[in-house]
């Protein structure tokens, strides 16, 4: 589900046809029987003159910022993003037989100076339309959504939560949303939210902000 959410964010725009070179033959990776497939792009595949793997590398790095807890208090935060070594491939998103987006699995690691988060790892999907595609040529906002299962967290996160997690189902989780504009090549802000269903109202889903972050 969280990956589906992230993928939806990636699919927020629709691009036009793309041209390919290299990779699995002259007909391109979208040429299978399913025109809306999500093919793995072989190393060396070039889409409209752009190497997707090289383009996605803009998302990998370490960024320092400031985190403000909703419960009060401010601290330093370090966000590290890297490609998931367990799933190292780059994939394309085909619509109508043409590739419109590329994405890869990433791992985000959050650490705060006050020990609230100590290297908590969050899996996500990162990507978007390549600059060479018609709607991806100009800088445009991008977003990354990610999720983490509830505790035990590595730090003393529960001390920074306003919400009493004991009132919620064990399937509750944290959602990290990162605002990562392509024109800056780096994250500018992020938020961490607690998502869960109250035990006394299991059909409802609550969303409560835990922290906000800025990356100057």
């Amino acid at each position: 589900m969280p990956r589906a959410l992230a993928l939806l964010a990636l699919l927020a725009s629709v691009s036009g046809p793309a041209c390919f070179s290299g990779g699995p033959g002259a007909r391109g990776p979208c040429s299978g029987s399913n025109p809306n497939a999500e093919p793995t792009l072989e190393a060396g595949t070039i889409v409209d003159g752009v190497d997707p793997a090289a383009w996605l590398s803009q998302y990998w790095g370490t960024y320092q910022g400031t985190l403000t807890w909703a419960a009060g208090g401010e601290t330093t935060v370090t966000l590290t993003s890297s490609q998931d070594t367990a799933q190292p491939s780059v994939s394309g998103e085909c619509i109508g037989g043409e590739i419109t987006q590329v994405y890869a699995y990433g791992v985000l690691v959050l650490t705060t100076g006050d020990g609230g988060l100590l290297g908590d790892t969050i899996e996500t999907i990162v990507g978007g339309p390549l600059p060479g595609l018609p709607s991806g040529g100009s800088p445009r906002p991008s977003a990354i959504s990610a999720s983490a299962q509830p505790g035990p967290w590595s730090g003393n996160l529960e001390a920074h939560l306003t919400v009493d997690v004991a009132r919620y189902s064990t399937s509750s989780y944290l959602l990290l949303s990162v605002d990562w504009p392509l024109d800056t090549g780096r994250p500018v802000s992020a938020s961490l939210e607690f998502i869960g269903s109250p035990l006394q109202a299991p059909s409802q889903t609550d969303m409560i902000q835990v922290a906000s972050m800025t990356f100057p």
Partner: protein, 185 residues
Amino acid sequence: MLKGGLALAVLLLAGCPGDPLPCGVVDDPDASAPSLVDDPFVGAHTGTLTWLETTKETQVLVTIAATGPVSHFVEEPGSDPCPAGHQVSLDVSVQTSDGLIPLTSEVDTGVEVDPDGHVEIDSLNVGVDPGPLLAGGTAPEEPDLASLSPQAALMLARGSGGAPLTGTLRVTSPVTSVTLATLAF
């Protein structure tokens, strides 16, 4: 793209050639809405509201009443068979004994009632002023919620297992969506 979207919108509004026409609606000025309804969902319900973050309880009175004006469907040339029964309005009022939800009312119009008196609706929403209930300390886990332009709504639904009614009270803001209370009747 824009022209295509406009054309699609016009097509959706106009319907497709061969589609049945909608039924007509005729007022029943002499009909009494309360006499048409025979449904346990409608009536006065006294229950308990539990504020989840403080675990405090209070009595709650929910009154759902059928009101006029009354109307019914009539077939038009080219229309499908129309539902029997009538359309009424439901007047829903809520009040808690702790005063955190002062008397609040909302009217749902165009609610269908079948010939047996069953109301063809399974849930109702009543907007509630979040000011008094947040000022009353019902959300200690979200101390800043009152400053985030929140909205509050009571969602009432048919209960299962014979209970006529259940409910939840939720408060939402651009960054928060929280269940503050449950209702049991």
